[in-house]
């Protein structure tokens, strides 16, 4: 885990159980748990049924050089 300054977590949410999760934003936090709390309290513009967070670093995207 990154130091006290934290790392970026992407936030995903959906309004109904049958909806796909959509990427709604990002938060910077020092742990998954506090990232989740920040996400819940920062992205309140819609009444989300489910919300989850994942470290930005967990997502693999090939660079142009590696394609």
């Amino acid at each position: 885990m990154s130091g006290l300054r934290g790392q970026v977590f992407w936030v995903f949410a959906r309004r109904a159980q049958t909806d796909p999760f959509e990427h709604v934003g990002a938060v910077k936090a020092t742990s998954e748990a506090i990232a989740y709390v920040y996400a819940r309290m920062n992205y309140t513009e819609r009444n989300w049924r489910d919300m989850c967070v994942a470290p930005r670093e967990a997502f693999y995207e090939p660079t142009p050089e590696s394609r």
Partner: protein, 226 residues
């Protein structure tokens, strides 16, 4: 007349007095929490924390307003601390000296003090969910639901204190215990809830639900202190 107000009108004098005193204490606690969170929402450790604090301040002050509504509408009692926050009517003469509370100026100290009071107030609301005074039971249920993220915020913020020196963490843990005692004294909730249970206003398991709630917070906090 609504069913809810019939229930309130039918409260015995003792039940009315006991609930009134508890609602006043809860509203004052919520105003205190709202004031602290609002004071910190521009100087927390990150923009994410600040936004969370602003949301928590609004919810706490909203909860105080709900208590005030019950006090005013059902119990015909004045609303305590309705001028806790600066309003358009009084903003021009507002100053730090005239504020109803003092801001706790150190982040870790604010977190542990507010967590203790928030946990105690929410545990009390957990017990009030079983109240036969329906309007109170309905509102307590909603407030407990909203509080879950406040407690998560407090506990997970305590976890970030792992980087602090051991002596500092021990002092903060002791501060938390002291703040719990002060919160209990402020709310007098065990005594009050026992009286309400004896009056048949709460389910027999209400005090147990309160204790279980607080134990759950303590367990999570013990884990967070490391």
């Amino acid at each position: 007349m609504s069913t809810a107000s019939v229930v309130a009108d039918n409260l015995s004098a003792e039940a009315r007095r006991t609930i009134r005193d508890l609602l006043v204490a809860l509203a004052e606690s919520k105003n205190f929490l709202g004031f602290q969170y609002a004071s910190w929402c521009i100087c927390g450790p990150s923009i994410e924390a600040n936004i969370a604090l602003a949301g928590m301040a609004q919810e706490e002050l909203g909860h105080a307003g709900v208590m005030g509504g019950l006090l005013g509408e059902d119990l015909k009692h004045g609303v305590p601390g309705k001028d806790t926050v600066v309003t358009w009517n009084k903003w021009s003469d507002q100053s730090a000296a005239s504020a109803p509370f003092r801001m706790i100026e150190a982040w870790p100290e604010m977190i542990v003090a507010c967590l203790a009071l928030d946990a105690t107030a929410t545990a009390t609301l957990e017990a009030l969910k079983s109240s036969t005074y329906l309007r109170l039971a309905q509102r307590a249920t909603k407030m407990v639901q909203e509080e879950q993220f406040h407690l998560m915020f407090g506990v997970e913020t305590v976890r970030t204190f792992a980087a602090l020196p051991r002596e500092t963490r021990q002092r903060l843990a002791a501060d938390y215990q002291r703040a719990l005692g002060e919160a209990e004294a402020r709310l007098a909730s065990v005594e009050t809830l026992s009286r309400l249970t004896a009056l048949g206003m709460l389910a027999p398991g209400a005090l147990g639900a309160r204790a279980e709630f607080l134990q759950g917070v303590t367990r999570r906090l013990d884990d967070a202190w490391g």
